[in-house]
């Protein structure tokens, strides 16, 4: 039997050593390089300062965009098939194709059927209704929805990586939300500009000649696009881009002259280079508008065919603007626009205050509890207090080892754990007292104390654990930190307040032949 005590004691000793290994880097900074664990406990944004952003992926707008894009594919497929004059128009989620003359109808139908298998094709007899309508399949649409958040997440990760924030957190939440946490960022404007930018780059020819129309009444197949702030021009450009940003392979900042500022140099992939080369060859002396997120950055004249597959965007950028632009172009456009739902910034001084106040309330609260236990339950209280200390060590150890984030409510959760951990001991000790009063021996009283109190301890901790799980499900950020501490605290409390103290009593009774107990 002594062996069993020794075994359990060794198990706890191992736990304590492991916890010390994990916790030390949090308090000793820097920890010696030979120490096996180097990572301190991760602090939440509310403690270390930083910015928390919550975005919603505008999936419906993204699906509209995607439908537009398919519409352009339909247009170019029909143009290549030379079916005569036609129009393609998007109405909500459907594309309507109208033909000028009905004689190529069969050919158009064949092209649409063969090339656009992911769309549902319906045909009508003509008249007012469109000749053909194309609708996105329900399954196709669902797949798009599922992909948008993943794609947006991936693109944001790349953008933020290149923005240079240490240890950012970028996570999907719910069905269509993305949480971005940027530790140490106090002025999030630049980060928000970078994240929220769709970065859809399009090269469109500026319309000219009679079919261009005017900015108030653009001609068919033309759209009006505003210039950058400071550029009052309204540009009438062709609706169909000749090349888009997804055909870029790289983008870099280029230093420019004093007046024109920095520029961004980019490289097309093979297809982009081909399309860009052709378009510039056929349209020398026309102007080419570089449109980013629906704003004309610049509209230079094509002086000569550009067949090298490289290009440049100028727009009087300062260095940071040019750097961020190159960043978003390199990493691609977001498939759907993002909407900022929530923004929280905590300055470093508030974080420091919170740590200080959290620590003070922890110190005062636990000192009172520890003292009370010692005075009221004497020896039994001391054993409970030792278990409590080890309990706290284990909580912090788990935080460091599993990389949980400690927040201010999390600290409150630790303080609360102190108040609740001793509950188990109180139940056991009260039960022991009861058994001793009824005249039982020390040993029988200890056995009965643990055995009879166990049900109540187990039930009450399970219920708190359940509410912790619900809280975790419900909460975000700091509140989740609290839920984690609450649940973790229950696990460590079960381990220390019940099992560890039992080892001590067993050792006292069996090992030291103790016959009276101080409780």
């Amino acid at each position: 039997m002594g062996g069993s005590i020794r075994f359990r004691a060794l198990l706890f000793a191992a736990l304590v050593v492991a916890a010390v290994v994990f916790v030390l880097p949090t308090f000793v900074n820097p920890v010696p390089s030979w120490w096996p664990w180097q990572q301190p406990v991760r602090l939440g944004l509310d403690l270390q300062g930083g910015t928390h952003l919550l975005y919603q992926v505008q999936i419906d707008a993204g699906i509209d965009n995607r439908t537009d894009q398919i519409g352009r594919d339909v247009e170019s497929a029909l143009r290549d098939a030379q079916v005569g004059a036609f129009t393609v128009e998007r109405k909500g989620r459907t594309l309507e194709v109208r033909l000028a003359t009905p004689d190529k109808r069969a050919e158009v139908k064949k092209v649409l059927q063969d090339r656009f298998t992911n769309l549902t094709l319906t045909e009508s007899a003509g008249g007012e209704a469109a000749d053909f309508t194309l609708t996105l399949n329900a399954r196709e649409e669902q797949q798009l929805r599922d992909r948008f958040v993943d794609q947006a997440l991936q693109i944001l990760r790349n953008r933020i990586d290149q923005f240079g924030v240490s240890e950012p957190t970028i996570l999907a939440q719910g069905t269509d939300e993305i949480v971005v946490q940027l530790p140490g960022i106090q002025d999030p404007q630049r980060a928000k500009d970078l994240i929220g930018r769709t970065a859809l780059l399009e090269f469109k020819l500026v319309a000219e000649g009679p079919q261009a129309g005017t900015p108030q009444k653009p001609g068919p197949g033309m759209v009006v696009v505003p210039g950058r702030p400071g550029d009052r021009n309204q540009y009438v450009v062709e609706k169909r881009p000749i090349v888009t940003g997804d055909m870029l392979t790289d983008a870099q900042v280029l230093p420019g002259g004093v007046t024109e500022g920095y520029a961004v140099d980019f490289v097309f992939d093979a297809r982009g280079a081909q399309l860009f080369g052709d378009a510039t060859t056929h349209n020398v002396h026309r102007r080419l508008a570089i449109v980013l997120d629906g704003v004309v950055q610049s509209a230079p004249e094509i002086r000569e065919p550009i067949t090298g597959g490289r290009g440049q965007i100028t727009g009087r950028f300062d260095f940071k603007e040019a750097q961020d632009l190159a960043n978003v172009l390199r990493n691609g456009a977001l498939p759907a626009p993002l909407k900022l739902l929530e923004e929280r910034t905590v300055g470093p001084s508030l974080g420091r205050d919170s740590i200080r106040q959290g620590t003070i309330s922890f110190a005062v609260g636990s000192a009172l509890v520890v003292l009370f236990m010692m005075v009221y339950y004497r020896g039994g209280g001391v054993i409970a207090d030792v278990a409590l200390m080890i309990n706290l060590l284990l909580i912090l150890g788990a935080f460091a080892a599993f990389g949980f984030t400690l927040t201010l409510p999390g600290i409150a959760g630790i303080v609360l754990t102190v108040g609740m951990a001793v509950d188990a001991n109180i139940l056991i000790l009260e039960r022991m007292r009861e058994e001793l009063r009824s005249g039982k021996s020390v040993r029988a009283a200890i056995d009965a104390g643990y055995e009879r109190a166990w049900n109540a301890i187990f039930d009450s901790n399970i219920t708190t654990f359940l509410s912790g799980l619900i809280l975790f499900q419900f909460g975000t950020g700091p509140v989740r930190g609290f839920a984690v501490t609450l649940c973790l605290g229950i696990l460590t409390t079960m381990t220390t307040a019940v099992f560890l103290t039992r080892v001590v009593y067993d050792w006292l009774v069996v090992g030291r032949r103790m016959t009276t107990v101080s409780i």
């Binding site: 300055g347 205050d353 509890v369 303080v415 509950d423 009063r437 009450s460 509410s467 809280l471 700091p478």
Partner: protein
């Protein structure tokens, strides 16, 4: 515990206990069985607390809702700390600008140095701008460097609505789960008693939050959920004892058994809750204003949770028993 079988193999321990021992003496706040007739006072106690709850709900109605923080209400919050003590009127006048409509300024301590500025939620676009307007207003009036912006929070109106639904759902689910668990571990009567006691605790705490005009935000909901989880503790302890006594005493009435059980567990109920209330008290007094309403929720909830296990949960058990008998 495997250890229990060890008694026989160690005669050294077995020898002593037969010797007559003096009755043990313990440090006690409350005697093992104070013999208080709790149930006698139950109708008054129940009446008094439900009256308080009604008053609190009346105050919610009077104020036109709880004092929602921006998590729920949406809008912008800027917390700033000045180097020198500054009058709240000065801060208000700095913020009376055409681009800011409804601004609430609140002194949050720090000897007149720390203020919380709230701009009530409007449309998405004006929300974005109001944090900047507040910063501009402060900078123009007091100058850069004479204050420090501690935090800025901006929550869109959609988040608030979602949160409200989720919070209500979470608290309800938690309450039902606790009731179901107790019903499963004990029996239906105890489950219903526990659930009624929890609803009572949540309502009481909300009433207290409204009367004290404490802010109701995300952490307050976290506090309520914790109260739900913790308040079951002593209900479990008392129910556990009622069940044990029911097995031992076949002749006594249920009312007597409940009374005895509450008395027998009174000391541990008060001490276990006492330690929890002590630490939340420390959080409330020393934890700073960020978690003030959170600590308040826990403090009130824990106190009323102790009371409700005795005066709400057990009488419900008794009531259901009498109903069942009446029908039989």
């Amino acid at each position: 515990m495997k250890q229990t079988s060890g008694t026989a193999t160690k005669p050294a321990v077995g020898r002593k206990p037969q010797a007559p021992v003096a009755p043990p003496h313990f440090t006690e706040l409350i005697s093992p069985n104070p013999g208080i007739n709790f149930l006698r006072w139950a109708p008054f106690a129940i009446g008094a607390t439900w009256l308080f709850i009604l008053a609190g709900l009346g105050s919610v109605w009077w104020h036109g809702g709880l004092n929602y923080g921006i998590d729920f209400a949406g809008g912008t919050l800027v917390q700033a700390r000045f180097v020198e003590p500054t009058s709240i009127a000065d801060v208000r006048s700095a913020l009376s600008r055409p681009d800011l409509k409804e601004v609430l300024v609140q002194d949050v301590g720090g000897g007149g140095r720390e203020f919380q500025i709230r701009v009530l939620g409007g449309s998405e676009e004006t929300d974005m701008a109001s944090a900047d307007s507040v910063k501009t207003g402060l900078r123009e009036r007091f100058g850069e460097g004479s204050y420090d912006v501690l935090r800025i929070e901006r929550v869109g109106p959609r988040v608030g609505k979602d949160l409200w639904r989720q919070a209500t759902l979470a608290v309800l689910v938690a309450t039902l789960m606790m009731g179901a668990y107790i019903a499963f571990r004990f029996d239906l009567r105890f489950g219903v008693g526990a659930a009624v006691a929890l609803i009572h605790d949540v309502l009481f705490t909300i009433a207290a939050l409204s009367i004290a005009h404490m802010e109701f935000d995300l952490t307050t909901v976290a506090g309520l959920l914790t109260v739900v989880g913790f308040s079951v503790h002593d209900t479990v302890i008392i129910s556990d004892r009622i069940r044990e006594n029911l097995r031992k005493m076949r002749k006594e009435s249920l009312a007597d058994i409940i009374n005895l059980s509450v008395n027998e567990t009174l000391s541990r109920t008060i001490i276990t809750n006492g330690t929890a209330i002590t630490v939340t008290g420390a959080l409330f007094l020393l934890g700073g204003n960020t978690i003030h309403s959170f600590a308040f929720t826990l403090l009130i909830g824990f106190i009323v949770g102790t009371y409700s296990s005795i005066y709400i949960a057990s009488p419900v058990v008794l009531l259901m028993e009498r109903r069942a008998r009446g029908r039989a």
